[in-house]
């Protein structure tokens, strides 16, 4: 049996208007929660993009001579991999090194032009089992004297500290974001449950006359979806504002040494906005479907 569209729209509209205050209240809270979700996503992305060349888990670089032979490289690689103090190794060949180089100096095309990819040293990115500076340098000296090795570089203590605190911050921000998604789901769920409770008589009558469960559920689900979407739209506006403020106040401002590293692109902003729109719509619809479910048990 097809559920008539005009019926669903009529019911959805009248319910949203009937519970206007409740709708508005939950809409605002959902908007704020989702805005935080988007902002935490942006900050997380920004943190990940800062210090591009240096991943938090890489503590040491072993650079090879530009003219190092394949055997020499192979031998260093084997030694690194069999070293008990080394947790993981990643090799960057000329191609990858050049790609990374181009990304790091994207704002200086002349400089990039002047470099021949052949001249770039290939390197190993090494993550030792311990972050302790003594352990790291012990591993480093072991390889410094191998043939074909140009030199070993360590992530500076300062950079490592920054990296460490940023990645801690990042995981907190992400956790916060997930918690807020959960909060948004509960808020929408609760609003719909109230709406369902207010209409339990209607649902009872619908069941008595033989309305199918989907017929009863659908208007509530579209109602939840519309609420979620409206909340997400408001949140998108808030996120947009946050984006503008952040860019004006922190990005490329010398006085904010740490914060000015955290930046994201317009594409990331769109990603965040689309994400919260989807989260809002889906959680609204699903939450309502669940909220009405307990009244449908036969």
């Amino acid at each position: 049996m097809a559920v008539r569209l005009d019926y669903v729209l009529k019911e959805t509209g009248s319910n949203l208007v009937r519970n206007l205050t409740l709708t508005l209240a939950s809409l605002l809270t959902v908007a704020i929660a989702l805005a935080f979700v988007a902002v935490s996503f942006l900050i997380g992305t920004g943190i990940n993009q800062s210090f591009l060349g240096l991943r938090s888990d890489v503590q040491m670089f072993v650079y090879m001579n530009p003219g190092a032979t394949a055997e020499q490289i192979d031998s260093v690689s084997k030694n690194l991999q069999s070293n008990p103090q080394v947790e993981s190794v990643k090799f960057l060949d000329k191609e990858k090194t050049y790609a990374e180089f181009k990304r790091l100096f994207a704002d200086q095309p002349d400089f990039v032009e002047s470099i021949n990819p052949e001249e770039l040293p290939q390197s190993f990115r090494v993550k030792p089992t311990s972050t302790d500076a003594d352990v790291v340098s012990a591993v480093g000296t072991e390889f410094e004297n191998m043939t074909g090795v140009y030199r070993v570089e360590y992530a500076e203590e300062y950079a490592r500290q920054v990296q460490k605190s940023l990645s801690t911050l990042n995981s907190w921000v992400r956790l916060f974001g997930v918690a807020l998604i959960f909060v948004s789901v509960l808020l929408i769920f609760n609003t719909i449950r109230t709406a369902v409770f207010a209409r339990r008589r209607e649902i009872e009558v619908m069941r008595l006359v033989g309305a199918s469960n989907w017929f009863i559920r659908l208007p509530f689900m579209t109602e939840g979806m519309v609420q979620g979407l409206l909340g997400a739209l408001a949140a998108a506006g808030l996120t947009w504002g946050f984006d503008a403020l952040w860019k004006r106040n922190f990005v490329n401002q010398v006085s904010f040494e740490l914060l000015n590293q955290i930046k994201w692109t317009g594409g990331d902003l769109w990603k965040a906005i689309i994400m919260i729109l989807v989260v809002g719509a889906v959680t609204g619809a699903v939450g309502s479907g669940i909220a009405v479910g307990r009244y449908l048990r036969v």
């Binding site: 049996m1 619908m206 006359v209 309305a211 199918s212």
Partner: protein
Amino acid sequence: MKFVEHTGQETVIKLENVSKIYKGEHMALRDATVEIEKGEFVFLVGPSGSGKSTFLRLLNREETAEKGKIYVAGKDIAALPGYKVPYLRRNIGSVFQDFKLLPNKTVAENVAFALEAIGRPKSVIREAVPQILELVGLGRKEGSMPNELSGGEQQRVSIARAFVNRPLILLADEPTGNLDPATSVGIMKLLDRINRTGTTVVMATHDRGIVDTMRRRVIELDRGSVVRDQARGVYE
């Protein structure tokens, strides 16, 4: 060779040794076996708590029985999957003591709601609603709100809603319980009229006067057991 008694009517409701137990101990219905044919008018009588409402609620699967089998229109309703229960209910109209009308809808909207809810097209609804309201004697009240109507009128709306889909069976749980005797007579005339169209009516009642006047089949329940099943019966 075994001869099956043939009455020329089909059985629409059949209970075979049905028991309903609440909370593991209280027997709301005890080993009940009843057969009701198409077009019958049956009164369920007995004191409060004797199992009349349970009897009715079992028929449209608002409740399920712990023991025994229940057949409606030849189908074992316990075997119906959940998604098919609504289709069972489309064949069963229900009327209650408290009418269960939606207070924010007009008379016509309340009746139309029953058709909307099962996805009937608008053209059908536009035709059927005035027709059924005429039948129950509320042709001029279609725009009224339920709270503007008398109890008897409200019950007529609820009967119209139950019957607008022309169900096979009409279940009525104390439909005159909230009405004065004169109004009750009107409601019973209406139910009788619906019964004459071939709809099977099962009505739980406390109303001795009605049962004794109508002289229809009477099934008496006492603490869940069927203690009497009498054609053209009386209240006691």
